[in-house]
Amino acid sequence: MTTRSEIRFVLNNRDVTLDTVSASDTLLDFLRIDRRLTGTKEGCAEGDCGACTVLVGRLQNGVLRYEPVNACIRLTASLDACHVVSVEYLSGPNGKLHPVQQAMVDHHGSQCGFCTPGFVMSLYALWMGNPEPSETEIETALQGNLCRCTGYEPIIKAAKAVTAHGSPADDALTLERAAMTAKLAQLRDGKRVEVSSGGSRCILPASVDDLAEVLLETPDATIIAGATDVGLWVTKFLRDISPVVFLSHLDELRQLDVTEDEIKIGAGVSYTDSRTAMSDDYPHLAAFWDRIAGWQIRSMGSIGGNIANGSPIGDTPPVLIALGASITLRKGGVRRTIPIEDFFIDYGKQDISKGEFLESISVPRPAKDTIHAAYKISKRRDEDISSVCAAFNVTVEGGTITAARIAFGGMAATPKRAAHAEAALVGAAWSEAALIAAAQRLGDDFSPLSDWRASSDYRLQVSKNLFRKFWLDQQSDTATNRLSA
């Protein structure tokens, strides 16, 4: 195997080649400190404010895609063979404002202006893919951008007006698309990439097999998919994560196959990329998916990372547990498949060994007679971490509950099924009373913690109430029982 020892990417209209990159180097520092492109701002260094939003274009199965990402937690080494677009690239060489910028100016979308470049970039990404967005689509696109000054109203107005100033067809990224695609294809030379700086090492394997090999060689490596968890270890905890092994650049791990029996999700598939497949089968998951983080994080973060991170408050594990998903782990050439719920052993402890990695997730296609729901309870509706996450999967045959898989996040040290409540349901008639009765068993299943997100009392109370909500949501008239979207 030949290796390459430099990272190559395109920044705006310039080629960048870096031969010294440490595992903890971020794109934001590269832009602001190394290149003095100071239009991209740091507001939080943890992916939550969006002031650092840039676009990253990359080839996926040969197709060039641009997505908004948080430069503050995007690790520089992961940019190999990508096109990074920062706000400086938007207005043309003659200084003419980009349609997004013009709309923001016309509608007074900036006050202090510090959040503004980030909003411009998110709106740019939105307009490229959806030039006539609805208000809800705009809000969803802006979940990852905070503005403390404007109250957002003028920004929403601007978002609606972008297309009046120009069409994506005339945009620079569209016009140079073929050339950029060719260029990125050329940068992707199929080699393993290894770079380091001051002893801090980064490895980008050439393929999944190579990944397996790299991990056998360096079993202590930190595996990095989207870095939406790992990025914070660097920016917030100043942790030394070297050596790191990236996997999100591997197309093989970003495949999503829907077969007769299952939805098979590669470990590197992002939230964004899994939304359609999941919600086609399980329509209730569309809204749920949109409440995970913001657009930038959803573009970066992977389902695999959400699982492997092992957090008790990750949002997809309860859902996947309720759906009866399994995961495939691989070490070298050896694969094993386990039910996902068995993966979570205890707080901070998962069923994965050194040198092993998560390769794919299998979600069964919907079974007959099942009723589903998923709830996320958080202080703020969007881009917040769950206080409680609950997923229901109940089989009702002839009016009787014959099976129940109900899983919670935020209620224990791991994402966990409510065994007592499930047992109380099985055999009972499908009725409000049965659900309310089952909810009373939650105290036997969980004794949740109190923290800054929620008190123990609230967690338990709301979890119980969700059983009733689950019932009400299945009724034909939900108007008096469901908040507007």
Binding site: T38, K41, E42, G43, C44, A45, E46, D48, A51, E88, L97, Q101, M104, V105, D106, H108, G109, S110, Q111, C112, G113, F114, C115, T116, P117, E139, L142, Q143, N145, L146, C147, R148, C149, T150, G151, Y152, E153, P154, T235, K236, Y375, S378, K379, R380, R381, D382, I385, D451, W452, A454, S455, Y458, Q461, V462, K469, T480, N481, R482, L483, S484
Partner: protein, 774 residues
């Protein structure tokens, strides 16, 4: 260019017209320069603070050897390295060390700073300190502080009018209650930052993101033990301030300046967001004990209130903040007999500070709680109770601090909003909806605000400006105010354009610097354009007077015959372009530079007696909000908000609407999702946007109508009869809080005031619902 023609068209960017923010294009292109974007001179160092990890403890041993030995470290600063005074207390109380010495009094208190070649190196090194603490007992909130006998950080205030005690005992109905109101982090998108560049002799220049350059200048001088004339503070713009950068930047400016002088290199300090939120002050939390006596109609006879605030470990601005809470405990209502006391409690938390409204919102929300209490008790619509208690004529016009309300437009504002928002019909529909007994309950509330404008520290109500007209006719202006997004520079340029009758784009306003305008006040208390606009106009008028005198002499006419037309000047029958006119004035050696000054008239305040006229005028507004609440989870949506707000005769309506909308959302955030949460050890655990949740675009009301009361004109002689806009609309967010309460109240058929505490997180809402379910 046809001078005649241009003289007939109005100037571009006159006052009272919509004009975009003067930096808008720079904002959207990323070319607006913030402090961290300034190019760094070679050798620039970076400082990072070492913060305590105890809420209250003696410092037994501070071992910084590992910090000093860390890679890239140039040195360490402790209290011993401060040439002057180790204190940045803004009120001279000497209670706010830059670096703690014998003990720490809150979690996150700075103990030292490490200076290194890179920010990353400094940040890593700061973590290596070995501190041996000896724990002392701590009290985190006002109630715990009262129990522990922590005392006050600053003298309390009493406001008294009439005989509250006896009126209360005679009242037909009395209610006693308690309201807990949480604090709020500013969450300016740009955090604290200062960048010092050493000069010759004692000189140092500090670029910073401060709302109060003069104070920062005085502090740095104090800390360096040099005269103020050695220190220059520059502020081009802030990425948001909201009060959080009024006094809190003093520490950062001082640390950067001390380090810059010590090592004779540029030094920048910028804390990470977590450290910014842990180490700098926030809005004061309050615990308010109130009692109200009222008659059968819900008309108030007496009010008493005790306002205990979480001030933190030092006084900072807690004196004026808690004073302002009392000044606004009446909101728009007349209290015939009243007794209000503030209790500025010392607590083992970060020292709380200014935040949009400056204590006023915490007073207003108490008044609104009282209205609610009366309404539920008398089974009245709370709007009806509000109306019955508005300030009026015939003696019902004197505030608890004995200022007469002369400009009361709250009744008209509320009436117009009630009509335009269709309040009555919607309220009825909501009652019917809730009667269906579903799990989604709705609520509606229409709440007013009356907000006093002026600094209550009377001497702050002054401003200066420096105006130059260059020989090509272009104008350069500096004033004492700072630009933090509010569009102050835009408005002031409009004022000068209007006064000089030249196009707006002839005027350039550059960074605020203590070199140009001395002894300025903080850009705070909503006073930015009131004060600095007047000072700028004064400067423009001085030059105009000289120009008129010159023209009269040069063209041998009366002064009356000299007229300033749009971009032109008429002298007798002759019309010339402004440019030509200025050129001639220059050739005739007219002094084309002037320093303007303004001080607010009429105001006075005697804190000892609790009497005076602390406010020049009041700004008013009202909001009507409708919410839906999921009573199974406590989650909610703001369905609709209608706002009618008073900015007098607006200098720039579009910018003012932006301020109103933004303030409303910020006020809503304060009372809904923004929760500060300390653990038992005293560590703030909601210290970044991951855990501290300000509103997002999707939290906006589903329908949001904002209007200005265009008929309003300031009764006082403010700039073009405008009114301040920064703070008052913040309190419009209270309508959301009250609407949530209304929805919750439906659970017990509105028999009981739900007594929701703030912020009304989904958790607090659900727990109130469960309580009412009984």
């Amino acid at each position: 260019m046809n001078v005649q023609k241009s003289a007939n068209a109005p100037i571009k960017g006159a006052v009272n017209s919509d004009l975009r923010h003067d930096s808008a294009i720079k904002h959207v292109t990323g070319r607006a320069e913030y402090c961290d974007d300034i190019a760094e001179p070679i050798g620039t160092l970076h400082a990072y603070l070492g913060l305590s990890t105890k809420a209250h403890a003696l410092l037994r041993d501070v071992d910084l050897s590992a910090v000093r030995a860390a890679p890239g470290v140039v040195g360490v600063l402790t209290a011993d390295d401060i040439p002057g005074v180790n204190d940045v207390s803004p009120t001279g109380r000497n209670d706010e060390p830059i670096f703690a010495t014998e003990k720490v009094e809150f979690w996150g208190q700075p103990m030292f700073a490490v200076v290194a070649e890179t920010r990353d190196a400094a940040r890593r090194a700061a973590k290596l300190a070995q501190i041996t603490y000896e724990d002392l007992p701590h009290a985190l909130d006002p109630e715990a502080a009262q129990e522990a006998g922590m005392g006050y950080v600053t003298p309390p205030l009493t406001l008294k009018r009439g005989e509250a005690e006896s009126a209360m005992s005679k009242a037909a109905h009395r209610i006693k209650g308690k309201l807990r109101v949480g604090g709020q982090d500013h969450m300016y998108l740009e955090g604290h930052i200062a960048f010092a560049i050493p000069g010759e002799d004692d000189d140092v220049i500090v670029h910073s993101s401060t709302q109060h350059p003069s104070e920062a200048q005085h502090m740095v001088a104090h800390v360096l033990s040099v005269p103020s004339n050695a220190v220059t503070i520059n502020v081009r713009r802030m990425g948001g301030g909201f009060g959080g950068k009024e006094t809190q930047m003093n520490l950062f400016c001082s640390v950067a300046a001390v380090a810059a002088k010590k090592w004779n290199r540029g030094v920048k300090i910028r804390p990470d967001r977590d450290d910014d939120m842990s180490a700098t002050g926030k809005r004061h939390d309050f615990v308010i004990d109130y009692e109200v006596g009222f008659d059968d109609d819900g008309v108030i006879e007496a009010v008493t209130g005790d306002f205990a605030a979480r001030c933190g470990f030092s006084s900072d601005l807690s004196g004026p903040v808690t004073d302002r809470a009392l000044f606004h405990a009446d909101n728009a209502y007349y209290y015939p007999n009243v007794l209000l006391n503030s209790h500025p409690m010392k607590t083992n938390t970060v020292s709380n500070t200014a935040f949009r409204g400056f204590g006023g919102p915490q007073g207003v929300i108490a008044a609104e709680r009282i209205m609610e209490e009366i309404a539920y008790h008398r089974r009245l619509d709370s709007l009806e109770v509000r109306k019955r208690n508005f300030y009026g004529d015939n003696g019902r016009d004197v505030t608890p601090y004995h200022q007469t309300v002369e400009d009361n437009i709250a009744p008209r504002i509320c009436q117009e909003l009630e009509d335009s928002a269709d309040y009555r019909a919607r309220r009825q529909a909501i009652l019917e909806w809730n009667a269906k007994g579903g799990t989604i309950r709705k609520g509606i509330a229409l709440t007013p605000v009356k907000f006093g404008i002026s600094f209550t520290a009377t001497w702050y109500n002054q401003a200066g400006a420096l105006l130059h007209i260059y020989s090509d006719g272009s104008v350069h202006l500096n004033h004492g105010g700072t630009e933090m997004g509010q569009g102050l520079n835009t408005k002031i340029a409009q004022i000068v354009a209007d006064e000089l009758q030249v196009d707006f784009d002839m005027i350039k306003i550059t960074k605020t610097t203590t070199e140009k305008v001395p002894n300025t006040s903080a850009t705070a208390a909503s006073s930015g354009s009131d004060l600095n606009g007047m000072a700028a106009r004064d400067a423009a008028r001085q030059i105009k007077e000289r120009l008129v005198a010159f023209a009269a002499e040069h063209w041998k006419t009366d002064a009356d015959a000299v007229r300033f037309l749009p971009n032109a000047v008429q002298v007798g029958d002759e019309i010339m372009s402004s440019r030509d006119f200025i050129k001639q004035a220059y050739m005739a050696r007219v002094h084309l530079s002037a320093a303007g000054f303004y001080k607010t008239p009429k105001i006075h305040w005697d804190r000892e007696t609790g009497q005076g006229r602390p406010f020049y005028y009041y700004a008013y507004g009202a909001a009507c909000s409708e919410v839906s609440v999921d009573t199974l989870t406590g989650e909610y949506r703001v369905e609709r908000t209608d706002i009618l707000h008073d900015v007098g005769k607006s200098l720039n309506p579009i910018l003012d609407v932006g301020q109103v909308e933004g303030a409303f959302i910020q006020g809503m955030g304060w009372l809904t999702t923004e929760e500060l949460w300390w653990d038992a050890q005293g560590q703030l655990r909601t210290h970044a946007p991951s855990t501290y949740k300000i509103p997002l675009a999707s939290d906006r009301p589903r329908i949001f109508n904002t209007n200005l009361a265009t008929w309003s004109e300031n009764k006082e002689h403010t700039m073009k009869r405008s009114k301040a806009v920064g703070e008052p609309p913040f309190m419009l967010g209270i309508s959301v809080f009250e609407a949530l309460s209304h929805a919750v109240a439906s659970i017990a058929d509105y028999r009981e005031c739900p007594r929701l505490d703030a912020p009304a997180t989904p958790e607090r809402v659900l727990m109130a619902v469960e309580r009412l379910k009984g």
